[in-house]
Symmetry: C2
Subunit: 526 residues, 2 copies
């Protein structure tokens, strides 16, 4: 392995070359490029970039940048257990939760392979006992519902994946338990949940790595008090609650939980969907085979991302094209547009993943940066978005690069034919049409009906949104974000930007607020 | 009324003055400004802009711009029935669906006041008959569920409002029917709904102004076929479906619907929540009194927006500050951050409202523009967003102005005290803390823990999210968007940017695709 060196994007030789590469004069798609410009993602998905507005020269310059910033070497080092989370002096091991990527691990990392696998195994065993009725509620009724209490990474990823797979698993008759999620400290979130569940048949999962997350502990107390107040004879709330936490947290050794499953400091919240944070609720809801498939898909994408040539590495190429768009072309945002209703909350997860990882203004060593880093990420499923914000995407004054996702087949395989085509065909016809419309545009004598075109997009295409496909999709974006962090020379694995708000909120709640904080407290009735 | 004249933003005298006004050197909040810098929105809400980063000089220059662009005169003209949707040569009358704003109406508009009221009255009468069991399902069972089939404006606004009020109405024991929504042409959307409802007890509302919306008609057929295939003796799907459409649409005269309620061409989809598009499902779900309150709140905000002085007009001031941020300061996006779980889909509605209205590159007459128009809009409820994308908002390389929303009290009034404070207090303490953190920032010896501050926000505060408060909130943002359209000299009421994709999708579905479109069709299995 090469010695790793770290330099800011604009200090590299490759950056200077990149700036002098000619920008393609048109990004209209050459039809012959469509079946050619693609890279496998893993689990049968392909990343197609024919409409992404690159040229062979641009890709070559980007490949040189990837080489100079040692993207693959750094990924290998990260996977082996190097301390890549410089801000918090931690290893970054979420890849290991789905499989080992490199043979030679650092001494500190090596034992954790077995640790993560052991947690998945313990989760599967626990879930099996729940499914077989060996673990039941305190009043003797079997559990049929599971509720995750968590926020941020303990909520968005697991929720997006649950919604992403629910119908696929249901079609195969594999749903074991219904799942719900509560996250917000707004008491209406938990209060509304209580109207939807039968507490005697509900198992709660408290998810907090530190065991100190304000929102999550408040919601736990809310649930415990509500169950105690329900007046059901024999109902013992503590026998309805398990914990997912770190072994060093105050929750880990508490007798208040039926059982506990563990993560550690090397799994960041937004990267924790494939750890016990995600696998616990997913295994309870869908069974261990579905989760194993999901992890297999993620691992396949992780392995594909080890390829050195970005022309054959979808995550790396996606990352590089994103840097081209953000730093050379100056585009401020990226939209994530899955043409699949099951992925309704996947953009919200990617919004956290990307914006919390790369929304940084200093480099990995705390040095200043003179270039933009992570873009704003937003999105909704198509075709819904077409009837909402696509107007701005087509005719607005800013160009927003687009990340489409599509599948040949629906999840539930229940469809209807009208005007000679199924709904699934209409869905994908719309997706094809949008890619071309954004890229080519259309001139019209009426300027209000003209489309400038030149709006780049790529599309990830699969046959069907299966557990393995969703695992690969998730890992693709995680790895894209990681590679962009290497290119920008930032630490994608801490989140110091969330601290100040927490500190001030605590100060206020302890009664120590004056000045502007006190004035706003008064305004808001605190 | 003054004669209306139209000029681009950068052609105004006020623009030149605005560019020369000193930018405030710090936007740190003066505590004394917090109780002073606010404007009533309507229905008890206030718009507080103490942290929005303006100075009296900036506001004065903006007021001159509002005057020169004749914002209030144009609003009055619009409300009176002037043809403000220049692209489609139509009046813009959504304000009239909640009440008359000006006495003297244009001849074409005058009769429509009665028309919109008549539709609300017909909806209320129909809903009353459903609630009293006078209108029942075809197999003799009462309706307890209502499903809206619509997309874009027929989906996002009504859905956001339904979610926004459900708990508030439930607390008063006022929920009459459960509501669901299907929108996406992805067949999994409708197929999943079928697993959640009892068709014998479900009333469907087909919502399409033109009666030709591809997604909506496909979903209608999906539902009709599924009900026919359900094998329930006597189940007649057409006796389970009503329509909301224009009187000239093919649906209006169809015998396939139990009843029909009407809108017209002067109500744009994204502005239709207060027309029959929204009132039908909301009245069925919550009863006419709740809807009357919602409309009353909207009308109150509409009236407040007639005020000529922007220092006393929340919607106009919000619009002006947005133009300052977008055009003078060059910020590309705005985040909408409600600290209320009930508003979980309100940002998605505003995303459509704003981006579809003002994501335009030509002026109202089709002339070119040399300045940015509508920003990217995104958001999620707090405190959830704090654990997601706030990292970028605090420490990212772009500044994103923030629109907070908060309420003193929760909707369900069920809460828990831990560590000496309720969840509702924690929620609002976080909101106060975030406003100050964004504005003031914090220096730290470790650059990775430093916050530059200088990130502007305003907050709309109310006592509780009631029907009237939500009506006022909705109207505030509608009017803000309208005023920004006047300031930018664009037509905020058409959406030609959605057409090209539709045309190409139809072309593809009719088998006439070649070139790039054909290549993508093949890739996507169309």
């Amino acid at each position: 392995m090469s010695t790793l060196t770290y330099q800011n994007l604009t200090e590299t030789r490759a950056w200077k070359s990149l700036c002098s590469v000619a920008r393609p004069s048109s990004i209209a798609v050459d039809p012959r490029a469509v079946p050619e410009r693609f890279v496998p993602v893993g689990a049968g998905l392909q990343f197609n970039y024919a409409a992404r507005g690159s040229s062979p020269e641009v890709v070559e310059a980007l490949a040189a940048l990837a080489e100079e910033q040692q993207c693959i070497d750094k990924y290998r080092a990260l996977a082996a257990g190097a301390v890549m989370n410089t801000g918090e002096s931690r290893m970054v091991l979420h890849h290991l939760t789905r499989g080992k990527l490199v043979e030679e691990m650092e001494a500190a990392a090596a034992p954790l392979d077995a640790f993560y696998r052991e947690q998945h195994r313990r989760v599967a065993e626990f879930a099996g006992r729940v499914h077989r009725g060996e673990i039941i509620g305190s009043t003797g009724k079997p559990f049929d519902t599971v509720v995750q209490i968590g926020i941020g990474g303990s909520d968005l990823g697991p929720r997006a994946i649950y919604l992403g797979l629910k119908n696929c698993v249901a079609r195969a008759g594999g749903v074991k338990m219904r799942a719900h999620f509560i996250s917000n400290v707004d008491p209406d979130d938990a209060a509304e949940l209580l109207t939807q569940i039968d507490p005697e048949r509900t198992l709660f999962i408290l998810v907090s790595k530190s065991g100190t997350t304000q929102e999550t502990l408040a919601n736990e107390t809310f649930i415990l008090e509500a169950m105690a107040a329900a007046g059901v004879p024999g109902l013992d709330p503590h026998r309805h609650m398990i914990a997912v936490t770190s072994q060093t947290s105050p929750l880990a050794s508490s007798a208040n939980y039926l059982d506990s499953f563990f993560i550690d400091d090397y799994i960041g919240g937004r990267y924790s969907s494939t750890s016990a944070v995600g696998s616990t609720i997913l295994t309870l809801a869908f069974g261990p085979e579905v989760v194993a498939e999901f992890l297999r898909g993620a691992h396949e994408a992780d392995r594909a991302a080890l390829e050195r040539d970005p022309r054959k590495n979808a995550a790396l190429l996606d990352a590089l094209l994103g840097v081209w768009e953000r730093n050379v072309l100056g585009y401020p945002a990226t939209a994530v547009l899955p043409y699949s209703q099951a992925l309704s909350r996947f953009p919200a997860h990617l919004q956290q993943l990307d914006m919390e990882s790369n929304g940084k203004s200093v480099n990995r060593d705390g040095g200043p940066l003179d270039y933009p880093t992570g873009p704003i990420i937003f999105g909704e499923p198509g075709t819904n978005g077409q009837h909402s914000f696509y107007q701005l995407l087509h005719q607005g004054t800013d160009i927003v690069p687009l990340q489409f996702i599509g599948f040949h087949q629906s999840q539930l395989d229940r469809d209807v034919t009208i005007d000679g085509s199924t709904s699934q065909t209409k869905l994908n016809a719309n997706l094809a049409a949008q890619i071309v419309a954004f890229s080519h545009g259309k001139q019209d004598a009426n300027p209000n009906k003209s489309f400038a075109g030149g709006r780049p997009s790529s599309v990830i295409v699969g046959d069907r949104l299966t557990p393995a496909a969703l695992g690969a999709l998730l890992a693709h974006f995680e790895n894209k974000v990681m590679f962009q962090g290497f290119l920008w020379n930032i630490n994608s694995f801490d989140q110091e930007g969330v601290q100040l708000g927490k500190v001030l909120a605590k100060q206020l709640l302890s009664g120590a607020a004056d000045g502007a904080l006190g004035a706003y407290a008064e305004l808001l009735g605190v």
